[in-house]
Structures are given as C-alpha cells and as structure tokens.
C-alpha cells in the first residue's frame, strides 16, 4: 500500500470524523455560537418551580427569547430564585410583566413564559419580576377536581 494513498485515506477518515462532530454539534444538539455577552440577567422568585431545570426555555408570545441560567433556594424567603438569561435584543420588557411556568403539552418539559404587561417602563438588567406564577401541580389539580372544587 503506497504511503501517499494511506496518508490521503486516513486524512479523509479524520475529516469525516470532524464533519460528524460538527453535524452532531450543530444539527443534532442545536449548538449555536451565541456568546453570553449579548444576554442580560433578570430574576424571578417562585413558590414552586416544579420540573424547571437550568437551560430551560424562556419565551414570550411563544418565541424563545432566552434560557434559564440557574435555580437556587433563597434561604430566607424559602422561595426558588431563578436567574434568566434574556437576549440583549429584547430590552423592552414592560416592568409589570409576569413570569409564568408553563408546561409544553400535557406531560412535556416545563418552561418560563413571560406574560407581557402594560407598563411604559422596561425591566433593567438585574431586575426581578414583580409577579410570578408557580408551576402547575398536577396532584393538586386532580385532587381539586376530584373533590369538586
């Protein structure tokens, strides 16, 4: 087997591997080259975050505008403090908007949806959402339904 041919074929093999990696990165896992620099942080406190997890979707009017950066327990208020990373382009969220935890479908993943308010002032980076709605608890819903309330 000629040395040159082997080199070329192995080179193609490595390129195929690289191409596979790129495919997995972009097409399969939807990795997009979005740097953290063009996002700003907003906070929201919930009584119950349910199945919300970091990297969950944050959307407004059904359009994804950011993701969840972290969820920590506030040891004084015993509420969950969620940090949201919002795209820098969406910088005019009305100050009285609400952060609502919704479920996609009936049994799907949970995400945060921003219900637009009517205030003329916008939320600044680092602000906290004034009103929030916690995750829907299926068991409570069923027991409410069953007891006819």
């Amino acid at each position: 087997m000629a040395q040159r041919t082997t080199e070329v074929i192995v080179g193609l093999f490595m390129i195929a591997g690289l191409a596979a990696l790129l495919f997995l990165a972009l097409q399969v896992s939807g990795l997009s080259p979005k740097s953290d620099g063009d996002r700003y942080a907003l906070y929201a406190n919930f009584n119950d975050t349910g199945g919300l997890a970091p990297r969950g979707k944050v959307s407004m009017a059904g359009v994804t505008i950011g993701s969840i950066r972290s969820i920590v327990l506030d040891p004084e208020t015993f509420q969950a403090r969620v940090e949201l990373a919002i795209d820098a382009g969406i910088d005019n969220i009305p100050a009285d908007s609400a952060a609502v935890i919704r479920t996609s479908g009936l049994l799907g993943d949970q995400y945060i949806d921003i219900s637009v308010g009517g205030d003329l002032e916008s939320l600044e980076p680092g602000d906290t959402f004034y009103s929030t709605q916690s995750a829907m608890n299926l068991e409570r819903l069923i027991s409410n339904f069953a007891s006819g309330r």
Partner: protein, 260 residues
C-alpha cells in the same frame, strides 16, 4: 478437596499477575513514543487498518440501528401521541449510549481480534524476538502505534455511527412514516445538549477505545505462541473487551447522567 482450593487460589493469583503484567506492558508501550519521523508513518498505517477498515461495518450497523430505532420508536411513541419526539429519542439514544457502546463492541470484534491475531502471529513466528535481538523495542515499534491508533479511531467511529444512525432514523421517521421534518429536528435540537450529551458520549468512546485497544494488543503480546494460543487469545480479546465495555458503560453512565 484441598487441591481444588489450591488450584482456585492459584488461578486467582494468575489473574492478578496477568493484570499486573498488563499494567507494566501498558506503561512500557505508552512511555515508548518513537521519534516523530519514524512513529508518524507507523501510526498512519495503523489508523488505516484499525480505523478506515472498520468504517464499513460501523456505517452499515449505524444505518440499520438508526432505522430500527426510528421504526420501534414511532410504534411506541404513537401510543402516547408523541410521534414528534422521535427525533430526540433517536438522537439521545445514539449519542449517549448506542453510539459509543455498539461501536466499541464492533471495534472489539473486528479491529480488536485482528490486532490480537496479528501480534500473536508476530510473536509465534519470532518476529518480536528478532526485533528485540536487533536492538529495537517491539513495544515502541509494534505495540505503541496500534494502541494510539485505537485510541484515536474509536471516537471518530462512534461519532460517524451516531450521525449515520440519526440520518437512518430520519429516513424512516420523516421520509417513510411521515413525521414532520421541522418537529423531528426541532425537538432533537432542544433536548440534545452538546456538552452533556455529545461530549459525554465522546468521552465514553475515548475510554472504550483505550480499553479495547489495550486488551487487544496485550492479549496478542502475552499469548502462547502457537496457533491454538493465538486463537484462544483472539477469543479472549473479544470477550474481555465486550465485558469491559459494558461494565464501564454502566459506571460512566451513572457518573455522567445520574444526578442521584
């Protein structure tokens, strides 16, 4: 009765000393990196034999497994009305588990047994001995390139397997069973995380590649230098590699994906 216990103990000690020999063997092979001008062509040849020649079986298997996942997944998910989730099911299954594991098993069967047989044959025909007598360290010249080739080729093969599998699943799901293409890719991209899933899968395949290559090369080097010895060593390579891969898979999965 005492004899049996003694024999049992002796075989236990044999296993331990074998593992010790394997460890020293590995240290010698890793430490002996040859000069780049000499080592690179050797590595290249081994990458060809170990990697490129395994492509055929990896691609065909990946395609069929991806297609079966598509079919089976569709059947199961349609019971819950969640056919649209088939993309993420196929992708997660392949990238996290089947890609690294099945590729490693195929690798052990094809490339691993070939490595063991080749090195065993070199030992039986005294080629390794004559190399030593000529002042060339066979660990450096023969073993090390093959070890590194397995190490490098495995992740590449695993990624190609996953890609071909996803594509096969897409053929079945979208083109044949009519799942909406946008939903197929969209759901997949939302649920497959590059670092948590793809990168972890790659780490798994690197570990598997290391283990399979080490076992294959060691069994060849350590075998009894007769034809019976070589065939027994080849069998051992496939069996030990497969068990090691499956066992390590459990450990790695628990570490990587278990938040328990």
């Amino acid at each position: 009765m005492i004899d049996r216990i003694a024999a049992f103990g002796r075989s236990g000690l044999d296993v331990v000393s074998s593992i010790g020999r394997a460890g020293r063997f590995l240290a010698g092979a890793l430490a002996g990196v040859p000069r780049p001008s000499v080592g690179f062509p050797l590595l290249l040849r081994q990458l060809y034999f170990v990697g490129v020649l395994s492509l055929a079986i990896v691609v065909v298997s990946g395609l069929f497994i991806g297609m079966v996942l598509g079919l089976q997944g569709y059947t199961i998910l349609s019971d819950y009305g969640s056919e649209a989730a088939i993309g993420q099911m196929i992708a997660l299954t392949l990238v996290r588990e089947l890609g690294p594991v099945v590729t490693a098993l195929l690798f052990a069967g094809r490339a691993g047994s070939a490595l063991t047989a080749e090195i065993g044959l070199m030992k039986a025909t005294e080629q390794l001995s004559s190399m030593e007598m000529m002042g060339v360290d066979p660990l450096r010249r023969v073993i090390a390139p093959r070890l590194w080739a397995g190490f490098i080729a495995m992740p590449i093969l695993a990624m190609i397997f996953s890609v071909v599998g996803v594509w096969g699943g897409m053929l079945v799901g979208v083109d044949w069973l009519g799942v909406f293409e946008g939903a197929f890719w969209g759901n997949m991209q939302n649920s497959v995380d590059f670092i948590d899933d793809v990168l972890n899968g790659i780490i798994k395949s690197v570990v598997f590649g290391f283990v399979c290559a080490w076992i294959a090369v060691y069994q060849g080097y350590d075998c009894v230098p007769t034809s019976a010895g070589i065939s027994s060593a080849t069998t051992k390579t496939v069996v030990y590699s497969s068990l090691a891969v499956l066992g390590l898979d459990f450990v790695l999965t628990a570490v990587m994906f278990g938040d328990f």
